[in-house]
Symmetry: C2
Subunit: 182 residues, 2 copies
């Protein structure tokens, strides 16, 4: 597979959530091009399943698409944070739930064409009960409990359009087919 | 659902593929915050199924993640372009294939937390045969033919990590369950 060598890298913007770089690259045949890249420190996404089989999802307003978005629990890795620890932390902050088990399903790239972010996907089997949420100061999250069939109906009718949620669901089915009724 | 009102918008960077804006927003309870947003004009993704049931996927080096990435056919909408036209165009350019039918499955958001891009997902049933590819000047694409089971094995073992591909696969299963062996 042909790789692309970086000739020069220029920092365009250093933000709170990401930074932007502009790279001059050279392909193996000598062709030169420019790649604009959004650098992001990575995140986790958690498929959260209750003992009764229902799923916990969160709904929040997403300014980038100017819509409320229904998604699995997710959040950004702190510097040096272990992804599994982050998964437990975000689960508790966003939903008030704790996990009896936290299984790693792998990672996905939300937008590998121009974003460096990788999202580590976990499958949490939750403990009974739910404490109060404790989201970030500027986060407003609504917690929903949905059956497996309700989640799939929302994916079918376009209520769920978030790619990490839809993508994690494919990973979930392939790694835990026993949870998918036939 | 609480929405976020834009108080001020500042253009940070105007690039080739995206631009970056920094927004001051106000939540409904008066809390103020900053949202950094990557604006992107939108794209299409095409699940491409041959008459013999095999799938066409493309592999290319993705500089943002410094890895070769195996993905469904995809590409960026030109200004004013109809998504279905774009799907036919990208299918031909990237794979050399034409479609006998092009069914719209809906759209997904690759990264709604900070990217505005929406990706329109199509299911193409291909015609027989394949012409030469005609990718963009700085694109190097490898075309692969994979059985349904090979695609799912690659999703299971982490060879496929692209969220539009994994997410589109969930949409595909829910809209065309007859293609999924039980």
């Amino acid at each position: 597979m042909q790789i692309e060598r970086t000739l020069k890298s220029e920092l365009i913007y250093e933000g709170r959530v990401f930074r932007v770089e502009r790279l001059d690259v050279e392909l193996e045949d000598g062709t030169r091009s420019v790649r604009e890249i959004v650098r992001h420190g990575g995140a986790v996404g958690v498929i959260a399943r209750k003992p009764d089989g229902k799923h916990i999802l969160v709904r929040q307003y997403r300014k980038a698409v100017e819509l409320p978005s229904l998604e699995i629990v997710a959040g950004t890795l702190e510097a040096g944070e272990d992804p599994a620890e982050c998964a437990h932390r975000e689960l508790l902050e966003e939903s008030g739930c704790t996990a009896a088990s936290m299984r790693y399903l792998g990672k996905l790239y939300p937008s590998p064409g121009y974003v460096s972010e990788e999202i580590h996907i976990f499958l949490a089997v939750l403990n009974e009960g739910r404490a109060a949420q404790n989201p970030d100061e500027d986060e407003r999250l609504e917690v929903l409990e949905m059956s497996h069939a309700q989640v799939e109906a929302a994916m079918w009718d376009g209520t769920i359009r978030d790619s990490k949620t839809l993508g994690a669901w494919t990973m979930y089915r392939l790694h835990a087919p026993e949870d998918f009724p036939r």
